[in-house]
């Protein structure tokens, strides 16, 4: 299919204006031996054929439309109100570029300003960026910012082993070109899950930041009492990885002294979509504003005093400061931030609170039912710690075997096999239960687990 609108006669007229006789003459600068390669691609399909092909390919997947899914571990199935996609489908938004031309981009700029406001309030922070790629890269940028703030003498970053291991991997990737050292990875996740304060004891005068996640990777709230004070006393920053849905009902990291809060905004109205595109949420205390990575939208006025919005503090950014920029980020996740803004506006304070409460009640109901199955234990690593919507279950059989039975006999995509990330957790699955799961859905999971482990 050709999307070029040119007719043959138009093409000839245009070539004539240029002063060449055919299209190929426009490519004389390309080395002749490499010009116009024969590309071995698939034969093109018409729109009708393509639509059919794409549908067939999509149906080669098992998905939440035909299976119950209890996977979490960083990506969650939540309800998305119809308003979200309605807004995302506005061509004025999604076919626009980054809003450099403020007068023609007031819509996106105002939406980002509102997004920044909502994120600040939800996290308890003063400033929020207009988005990063995903939660893991937001964390990597937060760690880089903390290393910068710490100056030359602080080259260590302590990352709790109970932080999403994939986030830790991405932070590690980002720091490869620096002298910074990641600490805390060797600590047992079990020990950490039980007592975070062992980690804060590692914070010293060479430490730039302590990174924790709460609810942590296993779904449990960390005991943060006194943590920020301990970190700050050593002159370091506290970076918290949060779940934005939990923040609808549970205390904000700002309230317990965090300096930077990052999150994946996927639970805020963004589909699972096999892991992306997601939304990197990044919020911080005001004193860091000149060192933030990424775009910021600010309010201002025009010559007539009309309120308007612009990208601001560009002097931090790559297109102005080049090699000395705070980050190389250019394209971000603007449309995903728009989805999150629409989601948060639609749900509102009460709606998000209800979602958080339903996650809490339903996951606890599921945990209680599963605890009644002989041989299965809930959160054996720290049975007394509170959890939000995810919990670990130890099984008498390998997780893969149990999941096979759940899928084949009960239509259930079971929990995440924690042994894939840490051999400490052989035979443990991580289950996520959200507002999407009705009582009968949960009962089906419980019945499946009972049969599979009998």
């Amino acid at each position: 299919m050709r999307y070029v609108p040119h007719t043959e006669s138009e093409r000839l007229q245009m070539l004539d204006v240029i002063g060449v006789s055919d299209l190929e003459q426009l490519f004389a600068d390309v080395p002749e031996h490499s010009r116009f390669p024969e590309l071995a691609l698939a034969e093109p399909l018409s729109e009708l054929e393509l639509a059919r092909h794409m549908r067939t390919l999509a149906e080669h997947n098992q998905h939440t439309g035909d299976k119950l899914c209890f996977l979490g571990a960083g990506a969650y199935q939540h309800f998305v109100p119809a308003t979200v996609d309605e807004v995302l489908r506005r061509g004025e938004f999604y076919t626009a570029y980054t809003p450099y031309q403020a007068e023609a981009s007031q819509g996106m700029l105002q939406a980002m300003f509102e997004y920044q406001t909502m994120i600040c309030r939800l996290t308890g922070m003063d400033v929020a960026t207009a988005s990063h790629y995903d939660g893991s890269t937001a964390l990597a940028e937060a760690v880089r910012m903390a290393l910068h703030a710490g100056g030359r003498s602080r080259n260590r970053v302590i990352v709790s082993p109970a932080v999403n291991p994939r986030y830790r991997e991405v932070v590690h990737s980002y720091l490869q070109g620096t002298v910074a050292e990641l600490v805390g990875e060797q600590t047992s996740i079990r020990a950490t899950a039980d007592n975070l304060h062992n980690l804060s004891a590692l914070v010293d005068d060479q430490t730039a930041a302590l990174v924790i996640q709460s609810p942590n990777f296993l779904g449990q709230f960390e005991n943060v009492a006194g943590l920020a004070d301990a970190v700050h006393a050593a002159g370091a920053l506290l970076i918290v990885v949060a779940d934005p849905v939990a923040l609808g009902r549970f205390q904000s990291p700002g309230a317990y002294g965090a300096d930077v809060v990052v999150a994946d905004g996927q639970p805020l109205g963004i589909p699972l979509s096999f892991g992306g595109p997601y939304l990197g949420v990044f919020a911080a205390r005001r004193k860091h504003v000149h060192h933030l990575p990424g775009r910021l939208v600010g309010e201002t006025v025009d010559a007539d005093g009309r309120r308007g919005y612009v990208l601001t503090l560009a002097a931090r950014e790559q297109h102005v400061r080049r090699a000395r920029a705070t980050s190389n980020i250019c394209t971000n996740a603007g449309l995903m931030a728009l989805a999150a803004a629409t989601y948060m506006a639609t749900l509102g304070a009460t709606g998000l609170r209800e979602v958080a409460q339903l996650c809490y009640h339903k996951s606890h109901y599921a945990a209680q039912q599963i605890a009644g199955i002989p041989g299965l234990r809930i959160n054996p690593q720290a049975p007394d710690k509170a959890f939000f919507k995810e919990f670990a279950v130890s099984l008498p059989q390998p997780v893969a075997t149990v999941n096979r039975i759940l899928a084949d006999e009960f239509g259930v995509l079971g929990g995440y096999d924690l042994a894939q990330l840490n051999p400490e957790f052989e035979g443990h699955m991580l289950l996520a239960v959200t507002e999407m799961h009705s009582k009968s859905d949960i009962d089906r999971l419980v019945q499946g687990l009972r049969v599979a482990t009998a």
């Binding site: 997947n61 819509g107 490869q176 096999f274 790559q318 080049r322």
Partner: protein, 496 residues
């Protein structure tokens, strides 16, 4: 308001100031209610609760009207001509959008067992293969989430590659002065030092300067080709040979691949690593700033360093229909995003490539170049053209008019009054008053002719009514905004 005879602006629809979502908020109003809890409730840990999350309280209609009105205060390719140089603001078939919204894709969790996501893995595998073929590379990883992240990834791979060869003295990365700011910024992030290479009088890399810089302290060159002047690097093979000659690697910034798809394979020309901007060249709109996707192609020598996981075909069926599986390259630099990158963008790019086929992709590149050269040929009589050469998909003009104090920014802002998005202004840095124009292949001759006429009108206005341009735009929902005030009296969120 001034002369509005030529007002074809669509931005007027949202002319009335739109209150913020917080200004619309009324305590107690609801937009969406959750169903009642159907399981026995569990007591909350009281100490961990908060009472206020600070989100606004509005109705569903409030939300819809608010965001629809905001959309009317925004300009996209779907609204009008958007010749924003270096950004490839072309029209993308809507079937790509529809495909990415299929529940079979959107409803898959990234941690599902491989045998349950064979459709996704097949799509990713084929997209990897097609990008390899289009770029002339041995392997592709889809992980990087944007062009800049592709750059960073490639530089980290270079670092690992030289470490394994014991060549740790390679600390410099050469970057032409016409490069995007992301190149030097990525270089610093990867722990290298950026060294700028000047351009010559034809807009090419200055070969003498490049030769002088190439020694065993050089890790590589980051080369945007066609460069940001829209010019194909005329001595490309010499440039690449020069860098390879000193043991360095050549990184291709694929931002301008829309000019080369089906025209030349960068890998075949000697480029060792290159990112593709799926959100420029392959069917994904820019989303008002993102999401993007920046898959990275690598030569055989570097393929093992690509970020994982990537998808491979498995030899034998394991009895459960598994034909594709994830694996991590042997010497991978590690993960660059939480899961696999921007899968939803992969779906769009896959659909785009399959819709066009090899011939269609080549035709797109040819017509992108045709449109750019047509505009260049017509506009050289209106504004100064610094480089008299056949351009590729874009070209740069100088936004100044003899005998007038009108600047490039004035011209750009005035274009908004005619319902045309301005070109990139003041970039590349090496051209004074730069206006970088990229029409793309999907625009018709009529649209281009109209653009030329508007530019002629503006050039006349610059002569006889420069104030009109200094004060532009006049027909947008706000006038020129006070950026200094925005930075000095910082207001980055609404006060409570």
């Amino acid at each position: 308001m001034s002369d509005q005879n030529n007002d074809v602006s669509n931005t007027r629809a949202g002319a009335v100031d739109e209150r913020t979502i917080y200004e619309l908020s009324i305590p107690g109003r609801r937009g969406c209610e959750m169903p009642p809890c159907d399981v026995p409730e569990t007591e909350f840990p009281q100490a961990l609760l908060r009472d206020e999350s600070g989100l606004p309280e509005v109705s569903e209609l409030d939300v819809v009207r608010h965001f629809v009105r905001l959309s009317q205060r925004n300009f996209g390719v779907d609204t009008g001509f958007y010749p924003l140089g270096s950004c490839t603001m072309k029209y993308n078939p809507k079937i790509c959008e529809a495909s990415a919204r299929l529940e079979g894709f959107t409803g898959t969790h990234p941690l599902q067992p491989e045998h349950t996501v064979q459709g996704n893995l097949e799509l990713m595998f084929k997209l990897q293969q097609w990008l390899q073929e289009i770029g002339g590379f041995a392997a592709v990883s889809l992980q990087p989430t944007a062009g800049a992240q592709g750059e960073l990834t490639a530089l980290l791979m270079m670092r690992a590659y030289f470490r394994d060869r014991g060549e740790t003295g390679r600390t410099q990365v050469l970057i032409p002065d016409s490069a995007h700011g992301t190149n030097p910024a990525s270089t610093t992030m990867a722990g290298f030092e950026a060294l700028e290479i000047p351009s010559d009088e034809h807009g090419n890399v200055d070969l003498a300067a490049l030769r002088a810089a190439c020694d065993d302290s050089v890790a590589g060159l980051m080369l945007t080709n066609p460069n940001t002047l829209g010019l194909f690097e005329a001595q490309l093979e010499e440039v690449i040979a020069c860098v390879h000659g000193c043991g360095g690697l050549v990184y291709g910034d694929g931002a301008n691949m829309n000019a080369l798809t089906g025209i030349a394979c960068p890998g075949a020309l000697g480029v060792d690593l290159m990112h593709f901007n799926l959100h420029k060249t392959f069917g994904t709109p820019h989303g008002g700033g993102g999401p993007g996707s920046g898959p990275l192609g690598a030569s055989a020598a570097l393929a093992d360093y690509l970020p994982g996981p990537v998808v491979q075909r498995v030899a034998g069926d394991e009895g459960d229909g598994t034909s594709y599986a994830l694996f991590s390259p042997a010497r991978s630099i590690g993960r660059m995003s939480t899961y696999f990158g921007s899968f939803g963008v992969f779906v769009r790019a896959y659909a785009y490539i399959l819709h066009h086929g090899a011939e269609g992709l080549r035709a797109n590149a040819e017509h992108a170049v045709l449109n750019a050269n047509y505009l260049r040929s017509r506009l050289r009589d209106v504004l100064p053209l610094p480089f008299e050469r056949t351009c590729m998909h874009e070209f740069v003009l100088e936004g100044r008019i003899e005998g007038s104090d009108v600047r490039a920014l004035d011209i750009s802002k005035r274009l908004l009054d005619f319902g045309i998005h301005p070109p990139i202004t003041y970039f590349p840095l090496i051209v004074p008053e730069a206006l970088m124009i990229e029409p793309t292949e999907t625009e018709s001759k009529q649209t281009l002719d109209n653009f030329v006429e508007v530019m002629e009108v503006i050039a006349r206005e610059a002569g006889n009514n420069p104030e009109l341009l200094h004060a532009a735009p006049h027909n947008t929902v706000v006038g020129r905004l006070d950026e200094v005030r925005a930075a000095r009296q910082l207001k980055l969120s609404e006060s409570s």
